[in-house]
Structure formats: C-alpha cells, structure tokens
C-alpha cells in the first residue's frame, strides 16, 4: 500500500521556496531604501509630478526601482501561489494557476519597466 503521500514530483518546490525567501530578504533591504529615498529626496516626499520626474533623473534610481519591482512581484506571486496550494488544486488546476502567475508576473514587470522608461525620458 502506498499510504496517501503523492509521489514527489522530482524535487519540485525547493527552488521556488528558496527564491521566495531570498527575494523576501532582498525586499526587506530594498524597501528601506525605496521608502527613505522616496520620502527624503524631495521636500516632503515625491508629492508633485515634477518631483517624480527629477527623481528619476538621478542615475541608478530607475534601475533600483525596477529591481525592487521584480523582487516584489515575484515574491507576491509565489506567496499567492502558496495560498492557492492550500486549496488543494488538481494537477490541471495547478497548471492553470502556474501559467496565470507567469503571465501576471511578466505583464506587471513589463508594465513597470515601460513606465520607468517613460518617466525617465520626460
């Protein structure tokens, strides 16, 4: 008898988990930077359109914000996926969830990169 444990799907789970955790640490670091910089750079924070434009002219800022976005989006999607896993989806449902997460992730990151470039170019 096999018990009720599923046959392990070739070490699935560890890399996604490790990625989630390492990105979490990266976010913890970057969020401090993102927050401080966003609130201290301009007088009272980035509260006008012009402040934001000027902020993105600083070298390295766009890259930092994009890196931050990538970490956050991937961490959030993997965390949401974990919540879905607790709903015990079928194999087919899980494939749909995985695919959906991938599409959302790529879309969000692409949107962020586009937006950053638009602002940096103004």
């Amino acid at each position: 008898m096999d018990g009720n444990i599923s046959k392990p799907k070739v070490q699935e789970g560890v890399w996604l988990w490790l990625l989630k955790v390492l990105f979490g640490v990266a976010i913890a670091v970057l969020i401090a930077v993102h927050f401080i910089v966003n609130h201290l750079v301009a007088d009272g924070g980035l509260l006008t359109y012009q402040d934001v434009i000027n902020y993105y002219k600083i070298p390295g800022i766009a890259a930092m914000e994009i890196a931050f976005l990538i970490f956050v989006v991937i961490h959030a999607l993997m965390g949401t996926r974990s919540i879905f896993l607790d709903l015990n989806p079928s194999e087919k449902m899980l494939k749909i969830i995985n695919w959906g997460m991938l599409v959302l992730g790529v879309a969000a990151i692409a949107y962020g990169i586009w937006l950053a470039q638009v602002i940096a170019g103004r």
Binding site: G24, G44, T48, Y49, V52, T80, D86, I119
Partner: protein, 128 residues
C-alpha cells in the same frame, strides 16, 4: 468521510481559537501578505497616472492627503513591517536558526513593530 482533510476547510486558517503563538504569527503573516498584494496592485495602478501627465498625478496626490487614504497608508506600513519582520523570523527558522526561540522572537518583533507603527502614525497624522 467526515472530518477528513478537505479544501472546503480552507477558511479555518484564519481561526486562531485554541491555538498558540506560532499560529497567530502565521495568520498575521498571511493576512498582511494579502493586504500588501492588494496594495501592490493599487500602487502600480496609481503610478500609471504619472504617465498621464502632471494634472492626473497631482490631483491624485491631493486625494492621498485625505485622512481615510492616510489611514489606509498607515495600514500598509503596518502590514509591511509585520510581514517583513515575521518573514525574517521564518527565514531564519527555516535555516535551522533559533527555532527553539521562535515564540520569544515573535513577541519581541511584535513589540518592535507596534512601536514602529506608533511612530509612523504620529508622523503621518500629527506632523505631516
């Protein structure tokens, strides 16, 4: 059969009755995670207003200064601090570090978080 594990029992995650500190930490982590994800979507959407030009962005910022929105932002800060600190606790534990002190560490980080959140609340509502 009744009483078997089932996905219909999913919402029981959020029931902290009869459970210990570790479960409280887990529930808090999940609730803040969901809150932060919702905020992420809203934030990305809000930043899109930058592309629409100064009028769109600046009028949104005017909205953001209303007390309701500011309170929402305070919740986001609270969620970020709690989720971040608890996440570090979970990361450390999962590498075998300080597992035996997980309860104490959670209590400490809770105190730190409440202090930080109070500080932010003071800043946001009485100084800004």
């Amino acid at each position: 059969m009744e009483n078997s594990p089932s996905s219909s029992k999913f919402m029981r995650w959020f029931d902290p009755r009869y459970r210990q500190v570790g479960t409280w930490a887990f529930i808090l982590n999940r609730v803040t995670a969901i809150g932060l994800t919702v905020y992420l979507v809203l934030h990305l959407f809000m930043l899109g207003k930058l592309a629409q030009g100064p009028e769109a962005y600046d009028s949104f910022i005017a909205l953001a200064k209303t007390p309701l929105i500011k309170f929402g932002e305070l919740l986001v800060v609270a969620a970020g601090i709690l989720h971040g600190l608890n996440g570090i606790r979970i990361t450390l534990n999962s590498f075998g570090v300080l597992v035996r002190y997980q309860k104490q560490i959670f209590i400490i980080l809770l105190i730190l978080s409440v202090t930080a959140i109070a500080y932010f609340a003071y800043f946001m509502f009485f100084l800004a």
